[in-house]
């Protein structure tokens, strides 16, 4: 029996307040949540229905010039220099006057992610913990996405498609673990789209993936896709070869390589495809692969719900394609959130961390707060679910 009221709130309150700090990639997020300690949480599997109130959700993104990715050193510097400002802003918006009295737990991303940025945020979390005398919880970033998605959409036991710049996984819950059914064998889907955006030299603000999505929407030849490899391998998929090929096409297009008959008309030498066509075809191809492995996972576990989480999950075309698949299956339903919760944020870390804390799982010694770049989703023991 799961008892989410194992650890009572501080100062005899009837609600918990958690602050979450996220900085595993180029987004620095700080969020504060409030969660009531209702009696129904003392038994049963209610971790998807905690009546969470979001008091603040502040995010600052490290944006590089077009054509550039984000380097660990510069990303860590961004986080170091913005962390205090963002924490102050989050506390102010949440109307937290005295963190020492008002906050139950500080949650931070322990991994997976880029080492240097993770380290910057972990130092901030440790400092706040010592300063305010508030316990710490180290959170798995992927589990943060899942728990936030479940809480927002109220999806009880969905197959989860986790698609972001660093991860591409199809996940289903079983016996206190989020089990990985399928995943990318090389680059993550967000990384694939981001790197193509660099080749196209399109802006990285608000995000390269968003800009590709907008270009794809403007494609005028949606009925004639550019042929790309379809590399589903069992429950896994591979995207690096597709990226290398479409990169070549884009470079040939920019260079005006008329020898490329796929891109240029043999007779007139006029281009037959546009950047928008490339973006559209890439999205359609990659998303079709994702939908296929998700559907297979649903069949395996006899699930009717899909939850899409991660930054790429805010892509409306992916949501639409997944929705179509779910509609074709009996009683299927797709759950997704908007960019506030899909894209990395502090609130999701607070939500997963608070669930952990309420089960009595928090840091007893600072040596447990060492961050790790490799931290697989299925390494976490999910004590807050049946």
């Amino acid at each position: 029996m799961v008892n989410l009221n194992t650890v009572p709130p501080r100062n005899n309150r009837d609600y918990y307040i958690a602050i979450g700090l996220e900085g595993s990639a180029n987004k620095l997020g700080v969020g504060v949540i409030k969660c009531s300690r209702s009696a129904h949480m003392a038994s049963g599997d209610n971790s998807h229905n905690c009546d969470v109130e979001i008091l603040s959700n502040i995010r600052n993104t490290y944006v590089t010039p077009p054509g550039e990715g984000f380097l660990p050193r510069d990303t860590a510097r961004h986080h170091r220099n913005w962390c205090v400002r963002i924490i102050k802003q989050a506390l102010e918006e949440a109307e937290i006057k005295n963190p020492h009295l008002d906050i139950d737990v500080i949650c931070f991303t322990r991994g997976p992610g880029m080492g240097a940025p993770l380290h910057s945020v972990a130092i901030a979390a440790r400092t706040c913990s010592l300063l305010w005398d508030v316990p710490l919880v180290g959170v798995n970033h992927c589990v943060g996405h899942i728990e936030m998605g479940r809480e927002i959409t109220k999806a009880e036991n969905p197959v989860v498609l986790y698609v972001s710049g660093g991860n591409t996984q199809v996940i289903a819950y079983s016996e206190n673990r989020y089990r990985i059914f399928g995943e990318t064998l090389d680059v993550a889907i967000g990384n694939c789209l981001d790197r193509f955006a660099r080749t196209l030299k399109i802006p990285n603000a608000p995000s390269p993936g968003y800009n590709i999505e907008q270009l794809a929407k403007n494609c005028k030849n949606k009925d004639s896709l550019i042929e790309l490899s379809y590399t589903v391998k069992g429950m896994d998929l591979s995207m690096s070869g597709i990226l290398a090929y479409i990169d070549t096409l884009a470079k040939d297009l920019f260079r005006g390589n008329k020898k490329n008959r796929l891109l240029f008309d043999k007779e007139t030498g006029e281009p037959k495809v546009t950047v928008e066509d490339l973006c559209y075809s890439l999205q359609e191809n990659l998303f079709a692969m994702l939908v296929e492995i998700t559907e297979r996972a649903m069949a395996h576990v006899n699930a009717t719900q899909v939850l899409i989480v991660g930054g790429v999950g805010s892509n409306t075309r992916l949501q639409e394609m997944m929705g179509q698949m779910c509609k074709d299956r009996a009683n299927g339903k797709v759950h997704a959130t908007d960019e506030r919760f899909c894209i990395d944020n502090g609130v999701m870390i607070a939500q997963a961390g608070l669930l952990q804390y309420r089960m009595g799982d928090y840091v007893k010694d600072l040596s447990e707060t060492v961050v790790t770049q490799k931290f697989r989703t299925d390494e976490v023991y999910v004590s807050w679910r049946e």
């Binding site: 010039p65 550039e68 510069d74 220099n81």
Partner: protein
Amino acid sequence: MVSPSALYTAPDVSEKRFTVDRSSEKYQTTNGRTTGPSAHVLGAGQIDVDRPSDPKLLSDGRTPTPLSILRMELTGLQDDINEFLTERMELAKNKKLKTQSQADEQRIDKEITKLLDGGDDDDDETKN
């Protein structure tokens, strides 16, 4: 107010202490020499909007607040540590610059190999 300090120890370094010299300019700024944006992103046209804020001043408009003094001293200390560690890395990487004994060189080589690939191959070769 007590200034921060740092202590570095390693098998080949008895004790390296980093302390603040308040008269030196490098402990009087929040912009460190080694903590700025990388040359690569600046070369790519990055505008640095992430620089640390300047030190806050007391009401007299001249004296930094105690927390700002701490930030400035930590910035200088961080520069000292970064430069020291960079030198050590260069020393370990570039054999020509090494002045240590042959035994020291072998030890560093072994450490680098172990760091890079876990040293599994070495062990296998020894067995063969």
